[in-house]
Amino acid sequence: MTATSTSGRAVIGTVSAQQALTFRRQRVRLIGVATLIMVTAMAGILGWSSHHTIVRVFDQAVQLQAAAGNPAPANPFLLKPSLSLLSNMVVYIPLIGALIALMVGHLAMAEDQTNGMGRLIFTRPIARTQYALGKILSAVRLLATALAGCWALSLVALLIVNRTLNGPDLARLTGFYALSWAYLVVFALIGMLTALLIRRRSLALLSAIAVWIVVTFVLPQFVSGLRPTQSLNPLSEPAGLSQGFFRITHLAQPISLVEGYKDAASSILRTTPATTAAETALSVLPTLIAAATLALLVLWRIQRHDYSRSASDE
């Protein structure tokens, strides 16, 4: 039995499969998928509750107006887009999904440093690029699995509440989850990069969270005047562009990934006034550029990473 030349694809597959097994054994996959599924269910329940509340308020309003001799108000459902049932997902993906993605990326990269496996792996004839690609692949697959589950559950929720789902809506739903996947991949890569840059695990994790905070809460405030808690609201309020300050900082909006994601998601789901395909594509672009840049940074950083020392658990 002789060691033969290992193809790059085989190494990537081996590393990815091993990481997938680790995710499964350490229940990361279970927790990640279950949390995102629960979040989808919660968004569905909140959407259904919204639907139900509007029906009840509308009934009451019709009675009130009739008693006052006024004509019945317009049916508010005409103002409610068919996919608005999922409008909360536009908030949950950057809040909860992104944090899960950070953890997934962090665990994928930090584990081999902590347990010293990196030393054993890199004394084998494999390239660091192949190793990093295997890790990225495993994280990307895990996120795709979780979002596929969310997609299926959303489909069921929409069929239950709206009773119907046409082809374009199905395409929009799929497009929304594809966009969410790209957005989450960005955060998984941030988790990986910080694990490669910072040796102490807790500091690496906290640094990744600090980046998430800046992206999710701080940038929107300085770029568009959105207060931190406004990030929790699926109904985006008009940005405070009255001041000269925002007229300048607004130019930097493309770097505010969360706003780009929310804009793109809302226009894909049609929960905001219709935008052109070009505008939607433009708002997706920063996410894709960020993902590609971060992947390159991970591939670059891993070449320099010192695997001769094992990282601290702490």
């Binding site: 290992t6 030393r119 054993l120 001769s308």
Partner: protein, 258 residues
């Protein structure tokens, strides 16, 4: 005992070159020069004991040989292959046991070994992993999760992963650390067996001078990054006939008492 002496990869080239050769090897961490131009040649079939006080630079030398770090200056070669420019060839020929070996605790010994054997490019990784475990007499550990292992068990699985691809050169970093006397004896027998039966050259960093005299054929003493002594055990005993033990010799040639 399924393992057979392997060296089948470019055998001619391998045997014509020394197992390990260091030339003017230097390494610097920031401003700290930890290896100061080390020259060393180790022939095939030797069991080499690398001695030195804490911080002497032994582990740095080992990290260079395992390709985990790049030397600041000088060269290091394994079986004639340069550790920097021919990394892939080097990693095919070395087996490495780090000090405090740890693996995926949630995976069984067999799964860990199979994964590492696959990375070494073995076509039937599972069979090779099982063979290595059987050779070391720990096939009973195959299905158990590594997270539940004692230090001694971990050490045996660590050796198994180091030999699973049947390397020419075995690099052992402080292999006896944390082992009880029984474990140390067992390890000594294993090293002798790997050297005698499988023809592996062994390069061993150690603090345990008693083990060196029992296992090693040659020794080197590193002091503050400089190789201050290098000779066979036989010659060493001849050169220092008055010394009662290797520890005394170690002190005499300049190494502080470990």
């Amino acid at each position: 005992m399924g393992l057979v002496p392997t060296p089948s990869i470019a055998r001619t080239h391998v045997m014509n070159e020394p197992a390990i050769e260091l030339r003017g090897l230097q390494h610097r961490y920031d401003t700290d020069l930890v290896l100061r131009g080390v020259d060393l040649r180790i022939e095939h079939g030797e069991v080499f004991g690398f001695l030195g006080h804490n911080g002497a630079g032994k582990t740095t030398a080992m990290n260079i040989l395992t390709t985990l770090i790049t030397p600041t200056a000088g060269t290091a070669a394994v079986c004639g292959y340069d550790v920097v420019t021919e990394r892939s060839e080097v990693t095919r020929r070395i087996g490495y046991l780090p000090a405090d070996v740890r693996m995926y605790g949630h995976m069984s010994a067999l799964e860990n070994l199979e994964f590492l054997a696959k990375l070494s490019g073995l076509p039937d990784a599972r069979a090779a992993a099982m063979e290595a475990l059987e050779f070391l007499g720990c096939a009973d550990l195959a299905k158990r999760r590594v997270g539940t292992f004692s230090t001694g068990m971990r050490q045996r699985i660590g050796i198994a992963q180091a030999i699973v691809h049947r390397p020419h050169v075995l690099l052992l970093d402080e292999p006896t650390s944390g082992l009880d006397p029984m474990g140390v004896r067992q390890l000594r027998n294993t090293i002798t067996q790997l050297n005698a039966e499988l023809g592996m050259t062994v390069f061993m960093n150690t603090h345990l001078l008693s083990e060196v005299s029992k296992v090693c054929t040659t020794i080197g003493v590193l002091n503050h990054g400089e190789l201050i002594y290098n000779d066979s055990i036989e010659n060493t005993t001849l050169r220092f006939p008055d010394e009662s033990s290797l520890e005394d010799i170690y002190v005499r040639v300049g190494g502080p008492t470990p």
